[in-house]
Each structure stands twice: as structure tokens, then as C-alpha cells.
């Protein structure tokens, strides 16, 4: 497996090539506390092109920063660093990675050729509205990933439905795709239910979603 080291500000990201191939890349974004899989998961093997997977900041082979400070916007920057490397890609995000795929697809509507949002850890985040203020206690410095700060902070981040829908609108207006988002997730937190009411977002099984995006130019 080839691993590329990408720079995102002070973080070095690990971007893994799980399978070689020609054509547009499939980029896998893992869930909260996970890491890139070592081999292409069975569910995505039907993808015709190369398959890549990114380790987010504080996860897998990427930098463990000191003292936390995680935001989903920073992780969107992680995904953007991978897009800068791969050019165009279709995204498959699990849990937290699904939320990041939504942000990245809205922010880079030309580079993201379809985002598939799947079940996984961290799908709901901290819910649609802020919870009571608290300062999560993180005991020791972790020597190995995942960073406990990531687990604490990225399971509390607020995911308002209207914020999610703004990224759907960006992708609808600027990607040129009829259906920029496909929801495979069975778990439906409020943000996911809200975007399913928007044009450009449909529910489908993963194989059908992959086939549709593989066929789209």
C-alpha cells in the first residue's frame, strides 16, 4: 500500500492508496476514532477507479497535535488537502467522515464528484443545537491514535440542519451534478433528515450510489 504524506498547515496527513487504477478516484473518509482501512472494504470494491483513504488529523498515520482544538472545519481542510492531491474524487464518508464529506462537497463543488454519506461513528456529532457548556477533561497525552481530544471535541460539535443545507445548496448550484449527495446511512440524525428534504440529495444503497457516480462524468 502506498502512503502519501500531505501537509495541512502544521499537520502531516497520511493519504493511503488502497488500490491502483485509472480514472476518477474514490476517497474514503473514516468515522470518529477510526482510521483508513488497510484494504478496500468489500462494499466499495465495485468502484472502477483507484481507491484512496485519508487519515484525519489525530487519527491513524496522521499527526497527533498537542492540546486539541479540533473543529470539523479543520477536518474539511484535511479532506481538501487530499482533493488537492487527487484532483477530482467521489467521496464515501462514514459517520464523522460523512459530515466532513458534506462540508467538502459544498466547499469544493468542482472537485467532489458525488458524496456518499454512510453510517459510522460520530455521525450525529453534538446534535443540532449547542448543549450545556463544558470543558471536556482529557486525562493523558495519547501516544497512539486516535487523539482523545478528537474523540471528546468532535463528538460535541454542533451540526445545525440549516448549516448542513447551506452546503447542499452550494453543491447543487456549483457542482453541475444532478445529485451531489447520496445518503446510505440508516441512522438519521437531524442534519441528515434535513438534507434529505433538499433537492440534490437522495437515499440509496451503497452499490447503486457507487455505480451512479462511476457512470457520471
Amino acid at each position: 500500500m502506498l502512503t502519501k504524506r500531505l501537509r495541512h498547515c502544521r499537520v502531516e496527513l497520511a493519504l493511503h492508496r488502497l488500490r491502483e487504477g485509472g480514472g476518477r478516484a474514490l476517497l474514503l473518509l473514516h468515522g470518529l476514532g477510526e482510521r483508513a482501512p488497510a484494504r478496500p472494504p468489500a462494499q466499495v470494491e465495485a468502484w472502477p477507479g483507484p481507491i484512496w483513504a485519508l487519515d484525519f488529523t489525530g487519527h491513524g498515520g496522521s499527526t497527533l497535535p498537542r492540546g486539541g482544538g479540533y473543529t470539523c472545519e479543520a477536518l474539511m481542510g484535511d479532506a481538501d488537502a487530499a482533493l488537492a492531491e487527487l484532483g477530482e474524487a467521489t467521496l464515501v464518508g462514514r459517520g464523522l467522515g460523512a459530515w466532513i464529506a458534506l462540508l467538502a462537497a459544498g466547499a469544493r463543488p468542482r472537485a467532489v464528484r458525488g458524496a456518499i454519506l454512510a453510517d459510522g461513528p460520530g455521525l450525529a456529532g453534538g446534535g443540532p443545537r449547542p448543549t450545556s457548556p463544558m470543558i471536556p477533561f482529557v486525562e493523558a497525552d495519547a501516544a497512539t491514535p486516535p487523539d482523545p481530544f478528537a474523540l471528546a471535541e468532535l463528538s460535541r460539535d454542533v451540526r445545525p440542519p440549516e448549516y448542513a443545507c447551506a452546503f447542499v445548496r452550494l453543491a447543487n448550484e456549483r457542482s453541475g451534478l444532478a445529485r451531489p449527495f447520496t445518503v446510505c446511512a440508516v441512522e438519521r440524525p437531524e442534519w441528515l433528515r434535513a438534507i434529505l428534504d433538499e433537492p440534490g440529495v437522495e437515499g440509496a444503497a451503497l452499490p447503486a450510489a457507487l455505480a451512479a457516480y462511476a457512470a457520471a462524468s
Binding site: 501537509r7 502544521r10 498537542r66 486539541g68 470543558i135 497525552d141 471535541e153
Partner: protein, 307 residues
């Protein structure tokens, strides 16, 4: 070849460097901490605003210290002499504030904060009400969302612009270093954010907030930090929580709109003020109230803390 520059100007009248310095290491991130006043005096936590640093209090803090307070401030991560971090967030700033407080005292203390520093201390006061006795916010109380009535398509365009600007900055920032210049050039650059502050003061800020490299002077602040930004947070959420504040609040407000200010007014705040609140709006004063009117602000704060 190394150019020769004039050194920054001598400190202005009333300026006093901190009496003591130390550092607090938080999970490997080193924060620079400064103190003015008697080491055995009652502590007071003082927080600077975004893109500032603790030594912007070199006039204001000594006025509180001279009344007997042990004034404790720190450079927020990425600012001043503190470490540049890989990640920045509101929660991280609040946690860093708590680390500085933990390293100072376990007793509850007054919090005083300017701008974003005031907002972070409100967050800390709400998360840890047992650590605070009174709260002073110097033009750091929340406002409503700017332009709440713009059309959806216009909001979408603004978000697209913010996103592409932010991502372009992130892509550049990997190898980014701040632009060098003469002290005069740095002062002029900062003058764009602080249009009401005197050139003498701005040059003084260069002498404590910038460093001299071989090719010129640079602000110490992390070049990865960028003003503005986007995210899910809505200022009205902060407003909605304000009534629950458990300690007396003194809120100072500017009346002249500035690039770094939030344009908060007493009228916006009125429905959200906790029971024991005093709001003072300074006429003909910009966002940096404690720099424009240090003596008046210190007198109000000392009176409020003596209650």
C-alpha cells in the same frame, strides 16, 4: 543582506512591562503567562482579544495591579510568545484559560476579558461557575448575527466566498511565513485593524508583539491564523445563554464601529442581561476601550470588583 532598521519607539507614558513571567504547559503546548502586581495579592484573570496578545495590557493591567490585584494574563495559543498550535478552536481557548487559572489558583477569581477574550471567559464562567466571582467584559458581549435578513442565494454566495478564501489560505499556510517589514510598516499594517489607536502605541506594540529576524520584523502571531471565518456557531446562541450567568456582570460597550468590533448595543443585550448587570457605553470610543480610555475603564472595574 541585512538591512538596518530603527528600533521600535520607546514605551509610551504609563506603560509597564509585566512584573513576572512564567509559562504553563498544557498537554505539551506552552502558554506564556504574565503577571502584574503583588505576588501575594488576590488574583484576577485577564484575557486579550483575537489577534492581540497579553502585552497589549501594558497600560491597563498596571492600573489594576496598583490597586493591589495580582493581574494574571496569558498569550492565547498562536498569539504573542505562546506556542503556535496545529489546531485552534473556541473550546481549546477556553480550556487553555482554565489551564492558566489552574496553575494560578483553585479559588474563584474575577474574570476580565476584552473582545474574544471576554467571550471566552463567559464560556469558562458558564462551564465552571465555581471558578469565577465577577465578570467584566470589555466590548466582548455577543451581538446578533450580522445582516440576518439577507436572501438565501446571497448567503450562499457569501459562504462560498468564505469557504474558498479559507481553504486557499489553508493550502498556502503550510509553508507560510508572515511578511517581514520595518517596525513602521508593521505598525501601519496593524493600524488597519486598529484605526483609532495612535501611531506611537502601534509602534510600541511592534516592540513587544513582533520579533526581529534577519530579513526584518515580523508579528509573532501564527500566520496560520486568519480573521473572519465561518462555522456552525450563531452569536444568538451565546446571547441566549447570557441570562444564566451566575455572577455579577460589568459590560463595557464601544460606540464607534471598528473592523475588530462586534457592534453590540445595550438595546440588543437588554432582554438577555442577567439580574446583576451593569452596562456602560463609552461615547466616541472604539472597540479597544481599555487602550483608548485606560484610566476610566480601570476605575470602573476597580469599583465593580470592590462591591
Amino acid at each position: 543582506m541585512r538591512r538596518v532598521h530603527e528600533p521600535p519607539s520607546a514605551p509610551s507614558a504609563g506603560v509597564r512591562a509585566p512584573d513576572r513571567r512564567r509559562s504553563v504547559s498544557f498537554h505539551g503546548l506552552r502558554l506564556a503567562v504574565y503577571e502584574w502586581g503583588p505576588a501575594d495579592g488576590p488574583p484576577l484573570l485577564l484575557a486579550h482579544g483575537g489577534f492581540d496578545f497579553a502585552r497589549t495590557f501594558d497600560v491597563f493591567a498596571p492600573l489594576l495591579a496598583d490597586a493591589g490585584w495580582r493581574v494574571v494574563s496569558w498569550d492565547q495559543r498562536g498569539h504573542g510568545d505562546s506556542d503556535h498550535a496545529a489546531l485552534y478552536s473556541w473550546d481549546a481557548d477556553a480550556r487553555d484559560a482554565l489551564a492558566v487559572l489552574d496553575a494560578t489558583t483553585r479559588e474563584p477569581v474575577p474574570f476580565v476579558g476584552h473582545s474574544k477574550g471576554g467571550a471566552i471567559l463567559i464560556h469558562l464562567a458558564q462551564a465552571c461557575p465555581h471558578r469565577v466571582t465577577r465578570l467584566v467584559s470589555i466590548d466582548g458581549l455577543p451581538s446578533r448575527r450580522p445582516a440576518p435578513d439577507i436572501a438565501d442565494h446571497e448567503r450562499t454566495r457569501l459562504l462560498a466566498d468564505e469557504l474558498s478564501g479559507w481553504l486557499a489560505h489553508r493550502r498556502r499556510a503550510a509553508g507560510h511565513v508572515r511578511k517581514p517589514g520595518t517596525p513602521e510598516e508593521l505598525a501601519a499594517r496593524r493600524g488597519r485593524m486598529n484605526p483609532r489607536l495612535s501611531r506611537e502605541w502601534l509602534r510600541y506594540l511592534v516592540s513587544v508583539g513582533a520579533r526581529e529576524d534577519r530579513d526584518g520584523w515580523r508579528w509573532k502571531i501564527d500566520p496560520a491564523l486568519r480573521p473572519g471565518g465561518f462555522g456552525p456557531w450563531r452569536p444568538e446562541w451565546t446571547l441566549a445563554r447570557l441570562p444564566g450567568l451566575s455572577v455579577p456582570l460589568l459590560g463595557l460597550l464601544a460606540s464607534v464601529s471598528e473592523p475588530m468590533g462586534w457592534d453590540t448595543t445595550e438595546e440588543i443585550l437588554q432582554p438577555f442581561l442577567p439580574p446583576e448587570t451593569r452596562i456602560v457605553t463609552f461615547p466616541e470610543t472604539g472597540h479597544f476601550i481599555h487602550i483608548e480610555r485606560p484610566r476610566e475603564v480601570a476605575a470602573l472595574v476597580l469599583e465593580f470588583l470592590a462591591c
